[in-house]
Subunit: 379 residues, 2 copies
């Protein structure tokens, strides 16, 4: 079957771009002398994980219990569950460790969680490797590197019989709002120095802190030095998206995933072309709008084997299963986008667009949809 003949909406993945993105990040990791533990929440696919871990130690970062179970079942046995652990998830994670002889590293940033996780793990006759989450400026989760709580958490973990202190970890999420490459570089250095400082304080207190791990695609693309760090965990670089283009982290040619949709209507009164991909197929993420005008819920591009006379088309509005295409200059190519025509939509935020789909149709450059990769979703 040709990609141009897929039933829509469908998710397609450009294999050559994926491989190039993964090779480039592996090269960066090598240059910095750090190991790469890709955050696979973006792709949620064992095939993508295999490509992303080529030449690496094989560890992954995951974001849900469902991902942990899926990747462990697909022979990925060293997983960091990269969301602050809810103690009630310990039984499910312990079961995955047992069933697949896997190691699931959990993350936490406070004594109450350390205590609850320790008790829950003990109840399961299980043990967990723990990373302490460090806030290096993102202001989402994590303990400040200078906070007295840091050593209290490290001590609580180190003293638990069912927990093992593996290291420290951060995610510089604020790099997603940087206004220049210079600012991304400053955030990368802030992340590096913050997490290294936290590790120094823990080891100075006589506690172990073997792994010093940082994340985020923008900071990993532009970091100038990673001294003291030995693991990186970027994720969206596997696919990239319009938000990363807007940030200056990649070019549009680096975007590996897009949604194929079909033209279902022409609304000349509102000057919109309707497609069958809406809020569920694209997500309501508007992140790229922070940097770019006329991007809406995604940019319109031709499907392989077709031509589109305009490059200024975007999804201006969505309802649940409808998308409304507008043109930046209000000149829509009605004839090219006739009823039944197919288009591709480049995503604002690949992680959210990809999430609800069950599979990728893999474009190997021949315009066919013969190769299908199933993926995990949900929780």
């Amino acid at each position: 079957m040709l990609i141009a003949d897929l039933e829509t909406p469908a998710l397609i993945l450009d294999l050559a771009v994926l491989e190039r993105n993964c090779a480039a990040m592996a090269e960066r990791a090598k240059r910095h002398g750090v190991r790469l533990r890709p955050h696979i929440k973006t792709a949620k696919s064992a095939e993508v994980a295999t490509i992303a871990t080529r030449g690496q130690f094989g560890g992954l970062t995951v974001s849900t219990v469902a991902e942990a179970a899926y990747f462990a079942a697909h022979q990925f046995r060293d997983l960091t569950y990269g969301v602050g652990i809810a103690p009630n998830k310990i039984p499910a994670l312990a079961a995955i460790q047992r069933k697949h002889d896997a190691v699931i590293n959990i993350i936490l940033d406070n004594v109450a969680t350390a205590t609850a996780a320790s008790i829950a793990a003990e109840k399961e006759h299980s043990a967990f490797s723990v990373f302490i989450e460090i806030d290096t400026g993102g202001r989402r989760a994590g303990v400040d590197p200078e906070d007295s709580e840091l050593l209290a958490v490290a001590k609580a973990v180190a003293e638990s019989k069912s927990l093992k202190l593996a290291g420290v970890l951060s995610h510089a999420g604020h790099s997603y709002h940087a206004r220049s490459v210079g600012e991304i570089r400053r955030i990368a250095e802030q992340e590096r120095s913050g997490v290294v400082r936290a590790a120094q304080r823990i080891t100075a207190a006589g506690l172990p802190c073997e792994i010093v791990s940082v994340g985020s695609t923008p900071t990993m693309v532009y970091a100038e030095r990673l001294d003291g760090v030995n693991e990186i965990r970027p994720g969206v670089y596997t696919f990239f998206d319009l938000d990363q283009v807007g940030l200056g982290v990649c070019s549009e040619d680096d975007i590996a995933v897009s949604v194929v949709a079909t033209v279902i209507g022409h609304n000349r009164r509102s000057n919109r072309i309707l497609i069958d991909a809406g809020a569920l197929a694209l997500s309501k993420d508007l992140s790229a709008s922070e940097f770019t005008k006329n991007v809406g819920y995604g940019l319109i591009r031709p499907v392989p084997g077709t031509v589109l006379p305009a490059s200024n088309l975007f999804v201006a509005d969505v309802s649940q299963e409808h998308g409304m295409i507008a043109a930046a200059d209000d000149e829509l190519p009605w004839d090219s986008l006739s009823i039944g025509a197919k288009v591709r939509i480049l995503p604002n935020h690949a992680c959210l667009t990809v999430a609800p789909f069950d599979r990728y149709y893999v474009d190997r450059g021949d315009g066919t949809a013969k190769v299908v990769w199933e993926k995990i979703r949900g929780w």
Copy 2:
């Protein structure tokens, strides 16, 4: 298992509220003398469909091919696929009709689609019942009631051997942005008169137009008269949500679905409580913000059997699997929302929040999660 012990994020459904909402809409349909064909894209569940069609003729409205296949397999054999048909979906829909002896009504608003659908249906040795979509002011899809295209479309459908003209249909989506009950009533009358006018023009041209169908929860709650209409297709009324509360269409007590999440962190520097429900579990829909301050990605409420000292908590920000709770007065109840505590999040837009989940935990008023209803999702 208690709802308070569910692994999170989880979707819960209050059965008593669902039944009350469905009974109220059935009563409205009865009062207006119209049949009710619920739009089941909100719930995507056979059990909900059974309750929503109690005492009705059993027809449903669906929004995806996956829903059509699922509901046909669950004995719902009269389905209107309520998104302008993409001709490439005809083979899949024809297969569903054959396999389940079902009738799938398709909708379209232009001659090109009518022609393509006719050819595609003929190729499948199949026939489809067709509704012509009418734009009564929503400016999404549909032909204007006064447009000359209307009769051209009706003629194209009526002359096709594989299509049967069943009627006209509209969805007053602009009612979602009304600023008062009076405005919703005006839109309801605009919808009614527009679709009735379209039906009159078709029948005056000697063509059949048996069913005159209107939709949208706000207009169906407040419509004063539905003369000339014989079918209604509201959907979100089954569950309601914060957007409908903001519109004045329901009260918060009418919201039947919510997401249960667990507190995973306290960030006192940013004055946020972290939970394990983020952009994927809640959606990035911000619709309720059009009407209400401090609602963010959803309001925080207690889970059954627990107490929450504050009613002004909301999800102020989300990332993929993280939610950040803020308080309207910046006074967070840190002690009540300790690590591991559970909360419920009322959704902004139930359709989008519910979509990615695989199941409902049904709250029958006893605080347990013993009853589980599976649902369909995806495409």
